[in-house]
């Protein structure tokens, strides 16, 4: 047995350890789940944006919404990048046309400044211009154009400005042509218009103060601006053109350098091939290493290198692509640089399929490949982790702290050291720590979001999640344990404070005199009330609104005090009612203790406990009586069976003709005694039942006059035998009471039997029936039965109604001695009173019942 128990204990301990280990494992798993979920979520967030280098700097692209089944080359991102690059290539091509001759940077390229400045529009047939070398203009731009204000007399002006204009005329065949055409040698012709062709007034110039350009560089033919113009108007116009050209070229030169780097073979996966033909001269721009082949050879090579490309042959309106780029886009782009692209332009741009250069395409391809195909895995992984976390949270919440006592196997809650920290600081610390770390993390994320590697960001997020998870678990499970162990409130500071306050107040009330107890609170109340009323008056004088809240406070205070008084009065009333009810015999009544406090509660508790003990005492005694009655009933059954045989055989002996008078006398004794024994057992059962309250009464309207007449009729012959003369003195008509018919008969029968046994022969038996009223004006019926005792009465009336007590203590006469006892108990059971009066030899029994009125 003992071994078995020890084994059991061991097994339990083992189980406990196992379950504890298991729980720790689940806790760790919970943290892992949250960290994983956060890491996955941040991965999605970080991976969904790609920061890609572009010519303009770092650009961010979103990967959300990409078709995960599509290849990178078919993604929106790829086409977006391609579009941007095409735009750049077109732009680069235009700039190259400004900077290069035959595909090579040409510093000595001549720039027609008027045509250049007006390159977006259309040139007039004749215009004034000047031609500078490209490098001069760029150098000028670096140095800056400078002007000075000069006062000139008319003559000086005449000397300064040319006397004639130099017009540049476009060839008639180039009508409607643009800037491009001006670039062509032989496309223009320069015409000097002599002064005499001018209005003579033009030569008489006025003295002026003019803004004159400092000529840092000269034109290709060694002239200055003023040499081409004949008026200030033309001078300033040409100066403006020069200024615009210088600025634009400078900007474009920088862009040219940028683009050159950007699109240099090996730096970009973009392969482009632009060929344009102006005036029969074909220029080819490309970044292909081998650019010597014919156009069609180059095109073939490009197609070979690039799976994705566009091909646009402008004059033939041929557009070919396997990308999402549309012809309209390309046309639009080309139209933007109309001045650089003549009708005869072919554009072919592709992306090198080998991705040999580390450019935006390669990075985008890597980012895309790392993210898009796994997006759903990441997301569902995160969701599953969250679900696992929540599931574990529920499971662990249910399990948290639960242990089973080793000895009894009882369920209990194991507390941790931190659970004994008062609740409020614990919750506050939890909120502060959790909130603080969340706030800090969000700040850090906001700051670092744009600037750090996504890997670092993910690691940071994971670490943060772990921190938050640890903090949350620490406080959350502590709260769970508290709630389970029901110490959430018990361990709170608020409760301690409330208890302390309560203790102080109770201390005050217990240990102070009644006067102090009544007068001090009243004094405080009156003072506070008065003070507040005064305050209201003061405030009402100068502040219009402040008095109102104070009034509310006053009302609340008075309401509270009133409530306390009311509740106290109510409690007293309840206690009084309870005492009254208990006094009336409703022993199971309990004074409701809810809402009581202080002395009233103590009072109520005392009353309840008194009621309880009385109830218990009564119940115990009732139970004892009932047990006794049951015992007597059972014993009497057991007596009756042998008694039956005795009676039967005595009777049988009597039937044998016994002649011996002595034996006949003995048999007579046996007969009488056995009959008495029978009577005794019956009475005993009945008496015990009545006194234990084990009878059920059937209430009826009983006419006492009828009952007495019936009884006297029944007993008439017996009275005659004993020479007793019953005298009934009753009111005419009926006298009704409420009683159980058979039980009230039993009372009267017992009394009459008593008379038959003990009354003096030859006397009268008076049976009187009368009414009277008691103090409560209740009408009562009194039945008196009087007789003269044959023997002197030696016992007290009380003893007579005690069981087994009879008038004669010798106990030799007939009867069980229970007759009067049964009569008394039955009378009382029927709400009557039973009293015995003895006066000398006069024996009187009074039965008093409430009169049943109404009929």
């Amino acid at each position: 047995m003992d071994d078995q128990r020890i084994q059991d204990d061991n097994r339990k301990t083992e189980q406990k350890k196992k379950s504890k280990k298991g729980r720790t494992f689940l806790h760790v798993l919970q943290h892992i789940a949250l960290v994983t979920a956060v890491v996955l979520a941040v991965t999605v967030l970080a991976g969904s944006y790609l920061s890609l280098p572009s010519r303009k700097g770092v650009e961010r692209y979103s990967l959300i919404g990409e078709d995960r089944s599509a290849a990178f080359e078919d993604s929106r991102l790829f086409n977006h990048l391609l579009g941007n690059n095409i735009s750049d290539v077109i732009c680069y091509g235009a700039i190259r046309s400004q900077m290069e001759t035959e595909g090579v940077f040409d510093p000595k390229k001549e720039i027609d400044i008027t045509a250049f400045a007006g390159r977006y529009g259309e040139l007039p047939q004749e215009y004034i211009t000047a031609r500078y070398y490209l490098d001069d203009l760029l150098k000028w731009a670096q140095a800056g154009l400078e002007y000075e204000d000069v006062w000139m007399s008319g003559e000086e002006v005449n000397r300064f400005l040319s006397s004639g204009r130099t017009l540049t005329k476009l060839d008639p065949g180039n009508s409607g042509a643009k800037y491009l055409t001006s670039d062509l040698t032989g496309a223009t012709q320069v015409v000097d218009v002599s002064g005499n062709l001018l209005d003579p007034s033009d030569l008489e110039r006025e003295d002026v103060q003019e803004n004159i350009l400092k000529n840092r560089h000269r034109t290709v033919d060694g002239k200055n601006i003023e040499n081409f113009v004949s008026s200030w108007e033309e001078y300033h116009s040409l100066c403006d053109n020069l200024s615009a050209s210088v600025n634009d070229l400078y900007i474009n030169y920088n862009n040219y350098l940028d683009y050159k780097d950007y699109f240099d073979a090996g730096d970009s996966n973009i392969v482009y091939l632009i060929s344009k033909t102006i005036g029969g001269k074909t220029e080819v721009y490309t970044n292909m290493e081998n650019s010597t082949g014919t156009a069609s050879q180059l095109e073939k090579e490009l197609k070979k290198r690039c799976d994705k490309y566009i091909y646009y042959d402008v004059p033939r309106m041929e557009f070919e692509t396997n990308t999402m780029i549309e012809e309209s886009t390309l046309r639009y782009l080309l139209n933007g640089y109309e001045y650089a692209y003549p009708e005869e332009t072919k554009v072919m741009i592709g992306v090198d399929s080998s991705y040999s250069a580390m450019d935006s395409f390669t990075q985008a391809r890597d980012g895309f490949g790392n993210f898009v195909p796994y997006l759903w895995q990441y997301l569902s992984g995160a969701v599953i982790c969250i679900l696992i976390y929540l599931l574990l949270l529920m499971l662990l919440t249910r399990q948290e702290g639960v242990v089973y006592r080793r000895d009894t196997g009882e369920r209990a809650i194991a507390l941790q050291p931190e659970d004994h920290i008062p609740t409020e600081p614990m919750i506050l610390a939890g909120i502060l720590l959790l909130g603080g770390s969340l706030y800090g993390i969000s700040k850090a994320v906001n700051m670092l979001w744009q600037s750090v590697e996504s890997g670092f960001l993910i690691a940071l997020a994971g670490a943060s999640a772990l921190l938050v998870s640890l903090i949350f678990s620490f406080f959350y499970y502590s709260l769970v344990r508290r709630i389970k162990a029901q110490i959430l409130w018990r361990g709170s500071l608020l409760r301690r404070m409330a208890k302390a306050a309560r203790r102080w107040i109770l201390y005050f009330f217990r240990n102070s005199t009644l006067i102090l107890r009544v007068w001090v609170p009243l004094g405080v109340f009156v003072l506070v009330n008065g003070g507040l009323v005064l305050l209201i008056f003061c405030l009402a004088m100068d502040q219009k609104w402040l008095w109102f809240p104070v009034l509310l406070i006053l009302a609340a205070l008075d309401g509270f005090v009133g409530n306390v008084l009311y509740r106290s009065a109510l409690a007293r009333q309840r206690v009084l009612e309870g005492i009254e009810l208990i006094r009336e015999g409703n022993l199971s009544h309990k004074v409701a203790e809810d809402g009581m406090f202080g002395e009233d509660l103590a009072l109520a508790k005392a009353v309840n406990s008194i009621g309880e003990s009385v109830k218990n005492a009564v119940e115990t005694s009732m139970k004892d009586e009932r047990l006794k009655a049951d015992l007597i009933t059972n014993v009497s059954h057991d007596i009756k069976t042998p008694l039956t045989s005795i009676i039967n055989y005595v009777d049988l002996i009597k039937r044998q003709n016994v002649n011996d008078p002595k034996i006949r006398e003995y048999i007579e004794v046996l007969d009488v005694k056995s009959q008495r024994l029978k009577q005794l057992t019956d009475d005993l059962v009945e008496a015990s039942k009545i006194s234990s309250g084990n009878i059920v009464l059937q209430w009826e309207k009983i006419n006492l006059v009828e009952l007495l007449n019936q009884t006297i009729g029944e007993f008439s012959e017996k009275f005659e035998e004993k020479a007793l003369f019953p005298v009934l003195r009753a009111p005419k008509g009926s006298v009704f009471i409420e009683a159980d018919s058979r039980r009230i008969w039993r009372v009267i029968e017992n009394l009459f039997n008593n008379i038959l046994k003990y009354a003096l022969q030859g006397t009268r038996v008076y049976i009187d029936l009368g009414f009277y009223e008691d103090e409560q004006k209740q009408k009562l019926v009194m039945l008196s039965i009087k007789n003269i005792s044959a023997q002197p009465l030696k016992v007290s009336p009380e003893e007579l109604t005690e069981r087994f007590i009879r008038g004669d203590e010798s106990r030799t006469t007939e009867g069980s001695g229970l007759g009067l006892s049964i009569a008394k108990n039955l009378t009382e059971a029927q709400k009557g009173a039973f009293e015995i009066v003895m006066d000398g030899d006069l024996f009187k029994v009074n039965l008093i019942f409430p009169l049943l009125e109404g009929e």
């Binding site: 009497s636 009777d651 018919s741």
Partner: protein
Amino acid sequence: MTNILVCDDDKEIVDAIEIYLLQEGYRVYKAYDGEQAIRLLKEQNIQLLIIDIMMPKLDGIHATLKIREYSSIPIIFLSAKSEDTDKILGLNIGADDYVTKPFNPLELVARVKSNLRRYTQLGNLNVENNALFTAGGLCINDDTKEVTVDGESVRLTPIEYNILLLLVKNKGKVFSIDQIYENIWNEEAIGADNTVAVHIRHIREKIEINPKDPRYLKVVWGVGYKIEKQ
């Protein structure tokens, strides 16, 4: 020859009853528990059963329940249990009479006779007579002014007869002393005394086997008298 089965676990009681019944000329079979009684009932032609309630093996109540499934012979319970509830239970489950121990042997014999008469004679009594009033085994023929109890003639005085007739004619109704007086004497009852009660007691002594425990003429104490509706 009438066969009576007596069943009680107390052998002496059975023997005593046997003596009384033999004196009356009945043949007696004896059983000492319920199972024996049932077996004897099946084997022999029994006309009446006297059975104790508290017995080993099978008690009287259950034995009676079984017997009543196939037989309607008179059954008299003999028991030390004298409570009203015991009597009511016994009569409700199919007993015809209930005698409490210790019993008066003569009363038991009288009850046996009475039950047998009712079972054997009254069962086939089929008279269509307007002047015939019955209540259980009590029968009044107003034509011949003859009163019989279980077939045995009873002699009553004219006043007793009239009182009994009044009560039998109004079975179940309770008559007070005054009402009986006014009905029989045809004059107003002024302070009626115990005359009627004495007459009633005399009637009871004549028609009842045990006047203290009447079957027909019941006293409703404090209210009046009635003949039980049966």
